[in-house]
């Protein structure tokens, strides 16, 4: 589902160059939940953004479902993301003025679907948000927010789910709920790339990779 090969990415600034990705290579097959762990600043988020088609690498190749997203024009790449990927972030990135249900429906802004409303309602129930679906993010607990973000990521049944420290702001119980949902998604045939330094992730991952100074150690 996801194959990244020899990715290179460097950030230049103030006379210094920081290598965020150094020949990073990995692949995530359908049904896999691959956890990439490493210290802060090792390049985990960069890896995720490059894999998502949001940050073009200096070198190397990204293939999602056997297609290079960087070969597409920007709008085509956005459409490709909407059709194939889901995202979960540490900060949830919910739209503050939309209810939980509307946040779950946010991907339809890019890719309308006739059954989106029903599926959103189903996801809200599935993630225990049915009673809170009309509330704004500011009125939800952090766990509810992350579950809302997760439901949003799953609205279009993506093939690949990219999660960046999804448990970083959650308590233990909420973190477990989120990780179990990610594992559930993988078991259902989806591919999950999870970058985290949460040690609990290993319990739910099918594979755990270590990342250090932009390199992925297998």
């Amino acid at each position: 589902m996801l194959r990244v090969t020899n990715l290179e990415k460097a950030y230049k600034g103030q006379g210094k160059t920081v290598r965020a990705l150094d020949a990073a290579t990995l692949q995530v097959a359908p049904g896999e939940l691959v956890a990439v762990q490493g210290p802060s600043g090792c390049g985990k988020t960069t890896l995720l953004l490059v894999a998502a088609g949001l940050l073009k690498p200096d070198a190397g190749q990204v293939l999602v479902n056997a297609q290079d997203p960087y070969a597409l024009a920007p709008d085509g790449r956005a459409r490709f993301r909407a059709e194939n990927m889901g995202f979960v972030f540490q900060q949830f990135h919910l739209v503050p003025y939309l209810s939980a249900l509307d946040n779950i429906l946010a991907p339809t802004l890019a890719r309308p679907a006739p059954d989106a409303a029903e599926r959103a309602a189903h996801l809200a129930r599935h993630f225990g948000l049915a009673e809170r679906q009309d509330h704004l993010p500011g009125e939800l607990s952090t766990g509810e927010r992350q579950r809302t973000a997760l439901a949003r990521a799953l609205l279009h049944n993506p093939r690949l789910l990219l999660a960046d420290e999804p448990t970083g702001n959650l308590d233990e119980a909420s973190g477990k709920v989120v990780l179990s949902h990610l594992a559930e998604f993988a078991k259902a045939g989806g591919a999950v790339l999870l970058v985290t330094h949460d040690p609990r992730a290993a319990e739910y991952a099918t594979r755990t990779l270590r990342m250090e100074s932009g390199r992925i150690e297998t």
Binding site: R79, R81, A82, H93, Y97, D102, P107, L109, A110, D164
Partner: protein, 428 residues
């Protein structure tokens, strides 16, 4: 999720930013509509006042003309009836006539029932040498008035000079040391000075008036006169041409010269009254045009200034909105929303602010204009509200204001669309 739902939710969430954008557009539109409404109201009012003033001025002029007519009506026309062969150039150069006509003409004119003549004075005049005094004089023979047959006799304007007497002009009397009561010889005839005239400042000052019959004898012109003075003539056709036509029908062997300055004065007075009226109306119109021009000039720079300021204001608010929504833009982009869609979201939001602002601004501007008109007219012009409403202006405002508002948000919307989501998402 549709763009409109997203925008409406965002507007409901960030009410202040949107309200300020609506206010900005409303201020610009209100200013424009209010100004145009006021100009239109002023225009209408000025038009009414101008028409009233013009009508009043015309009434005043009409009254003035009537007054002049009444005041000068009794002046009449003074005519000098001369023999047709009298050379007028010679008359003016010499200051006296050189031709004569039958004295009977005076009776004929007096008997005619055509013109209204107050006084008819047949005269015989000639420039002669006063041999006894060795000086040149204008000798005028007069018999007094020939009373018009068809009118009641009036007090004569000039008395006849009795036989054996003379009236002497002031300059002549002074130079010859003549005084009333003196007896002098004139061309061999002894005459008593009856009167010395007051200074006239013309040829009268060197004239000697004697009885017409005696003058005819002295000058060897029996039964002849050289002119008839017809004083204070009034006729149906109260113009010199009309009188001239009537007199020449009665006395075809004559010519008529209008002497009276009063008639010219009357014409001049009436002409001046008409000029005064025209000047008053023109001044009124010029004052209105100047006031209109001042108002238009004021509106010509105030309104664009306010509009530009409001466009900048809308642009700044849109930019603040973009900055506030960086995270949201990043996640929407990550979820696959195209840059074009992001661009349209911000543009549409500004368009809606423009639409709302246009509606509010138009209503406010109209209310301002109506309020002003009502205040200016002391509440008397409540009915003036409907003429201020301009459907085409409303349509123009409802189209242009949203477009301008959207144009003001063009740069912020582009900034939003070009925002790199990776940069935002990396900042976690």
């Amino acid at each position: 999720m549709t763009v409109w739902r997203l925008i409406s939710r965002e507007i409901a969430y960030r009410k202040l930013n949107f309200a300020l954008a609506v206010l900005a557009v409303a201020v610009a539109v209100g200013c424009l509509v209010g100004e145009l409404a006021l100009l239109a109201a002023h225009e209408t009012r000025a038009e009414q006042l101008g028409e009233n003033a013009e009508a009043a001025a015309q009434q005043r002029v009409q009254r003035l003309e009537d007054d002049y007519r009444v005041i000068t009506v009794k002046l009449g026309y003074n005519l000098l009836i001369l023999p047709r062969d009298q050379d007028l150039a010679e008359l003016h150069l010499l200051g006296h006539t050189t031709k004569t006509m039958p004295e009977e003409y005076a009776q004929r004119l007096g008997s005619a029932n055509v013109i209204t003549v107050q006084h008819l004075l047949p005269t015989l005049q000639q420039k002669v040498e006063w041999p006894e005094k060795k000086t040149s004089i204008l000798l005028m023979g007069t018999r007094g008035e020939t009373p018009p047959a068809h009118r009641d006799p009036k007090k004569p304007i000039r008395e006849a000079v009795p036989r054996g007497e003379m009236i002497v002009g002031r300059v002549l009397a002074d130079s010859l040391h003549l005084a009333p009561g003196d007896t002098v010889a004139l061309m061999g005839k002894t005459l008593k000075v009856r009167e010395v005239r007051q200074p006239a400042g013309n040829e009268d000052d060197v004239t000697v008036w004697i009885n017409l019959a005696e003058a005819q004898e002295l000058l060897g012109q029996p039964g002849r006169i050289s002119a008839i003075l017809a004083l204070s003539c009034f006729c149906a056709e109260a113009t010199p041409e009309g009188i001239r036509r009537e007199v020449t029908q009665i006395l075809p062997e004559t010519q008529i010269v209008e002497l009276s300055p009063q008639a010219a004065t009357r014409r001049a007075a009436r002409a001046r009254a008409a000029e005064y009226g025209a000047e008053t109306v023109a001044a009124e119109e010029a004052a209105r045009a100047a006031a209109r021009s001042e108002r238009h000039a004021f509106a010509a720079w105030v309104v664009p200034l306010v509009v530009v300021a409001c466009i900048v204001w809308v642009g700044v608010l849109a930019l603040l909105n973009v900055r506030e929504r960086r995270d949201e833009i990043a996640i929407l982009r990550a979820l696959g929303t195209s840059a074009r869609r992001i661009f349209s979201i911000f543009l549409a939001r500004s368009f809606m602010a423009g639409l709302a602002g246009a509606a509010v601004g138009y209503a406010a501007g109209l209310a301002l204009g109506q309020g002003w008109v009502r205040w200016e007219s002391g509440g008397a012009q409540a009915a003036a509200s409907s003429p201020l409403f301009d459907g085409s202006l409303l349509a123009a405002v409802l189209v242009l204001a949203p477009l301008l508002s959207a144009a003001a948000a063009l740069v912020p919307a582009l900034t939003a669309a070009q925002q790199d989501p990776a940069v935002i998402l990396q900042q976690e």
